[in-house]
């Protein structure tokens, strides 16, 4: 397996959606290709860092305000009928 082929399968590999034979080939490649190991490992870390980052969390006070505004608009919509959205 070439590095480009490894890369092509990287997303499937990280997501665990590859067949057993391809997985064996990928892992064989990983066992000797340091570059692909690093790319695979740091890509995994990238995903984990974003997933765990709590980037753009909605603060509770703003959350409450938004929910009130949404429900108020829904009420208006109900009164005016279905043409208002």
């Amino acid at each position: 397996m070439k590095c480009s082929e490894f890369l092509h399968e990287l997303t499937n590999y990280l997501d665990g959606v590859i067949d057993e034979n391809t997985k064996v080939e990928l892992e064989n490649h990983l066992s000797w290709c340091h570059n692909c190991y690093v790319v695979c490992d740091t890509t995994k870390k990238t995903i984990e860092i974003y997933r765990d980052s709590q980037l753009y969390e909605l603060p509770e006070d703003l959350r409450g305000k938004l929910r009130s505004a949404i429900m108020a608009k829904c009420q208006q919509h109900k009164k005016r009928g279905p043409q208002s959205v």
Partner: protein, 261 residues
């Protein structure tokens, strides 16, 4: 030539102990693979951030369809944080994201009778929210048509140019505020179509099929964008997280702002 940070000899590298995060898999009792190959199982452990079972969701949706506003409010409560996160990832603007949250839920409310219950309510809601967010972006950047179909390039454009390894736990070298700044600027540099797929798949934990349904893209298109998004983010984050030759972290300048290219 790609830059490689002091590669270990192959035999030694193969025997290298696992970073502690990888060992989690072994504790989880996943059978079969040798420790070195546990990445898949770790990744498989990624769970989405949604709360509550889907069947419960359907009960709420049906009640809301019958006119029970408290049921709809419960749906808002359940998904508002997800919608906000998705919206801000796409629009990169907090006020726009707030607007999108309101507009998306209002639209969902107004169109609830049209929801066929063939997908999850959440997937349907995400589709509405993504469309609202993209419309915001289009209004702000009319000079550049924002479409999920853009950015198709040649097959090789995502090949990594930078392969240096990162220091262990690089995110811990920065304060929370610095890290958020880095992550935010880094993802801003990605085309909207890429960051939308990334946030749905990897941050929100939608499946590939759900992401495809929410974005009205094919599964191969989602996979292709996801791979490129992941690789581009990895490469950009490397500026901040790479090891130096002396083993120390290469602390990138947080305020350099080169995520916006």
């Amino acid at each position: 030539m790609p830059k490689v940070a002091s590669p270990a000899p192959r035999a030694d590298w193969a025997k290298r102990p696992l970073p502690s995060r990888m060992n989690i898999t072994l504790v989880r009792g996943v059978s079969g693979p040798p420790a070195k190959y546990c990445i898949v199982e770790i990744m498989g452990a990624i769970q989405n951030k949604l709360e509550g079972p889907v069947s419960d969701e359907l009960t709420l949706v049906r009640a809301a369809k019958q006119g029970d506003d408290s049921a709809f409010e419960e749906l808002v409560r359940r998904y508002d944080r997800n919608v906000f996160r998705i919206a801000q990832h796409i629009t990169q603007n907090r006020e726009d994201a707030e607007d999108v949250v309101q507009e998306a839920f209002l639209k969902a409310y107004g169109n609830l009778q049209k929801f066929q219950e063939q997908s999850k309510f959440y997937t349907w809601l995400v589709r509405i929210a993504v469309n609202e967010a993209l419309m915001k972006l289009r209004r702000k950047k009319p000079e550049r048509t924002v479409s999920l179909d853009e950015d198709i390039k040649t097959e090789d454009d995502s090949l990594p140019r930078e392969i240096a390894d990162w220091s262990p736990n690089p995110e811990q070298q920065y304060t929370q505020a610095e890290l958020r700044e880095i992550l935010s600027k880094t993802i801003q540099g990605l085309p909207p179509g890429f960051r939308t797929v990334f946030v749905l798949r990897d941050v929100e934990g939608l499946s590939t099929e759900e992401t495809a349904a929410a974005l009205e893209l094919s599964v191969p298109a989602v996979k292709s964008r996801l791979l490129r998004a992941r690789l581009q983010l990895r490469e950009r984050l490397g500026r901040f997280f790479q090891k130096r030759e002396n083993g120390h972290l290469n602390r990138g300048d947080v305020n350099r702002g080169d995520g916006n290219q």
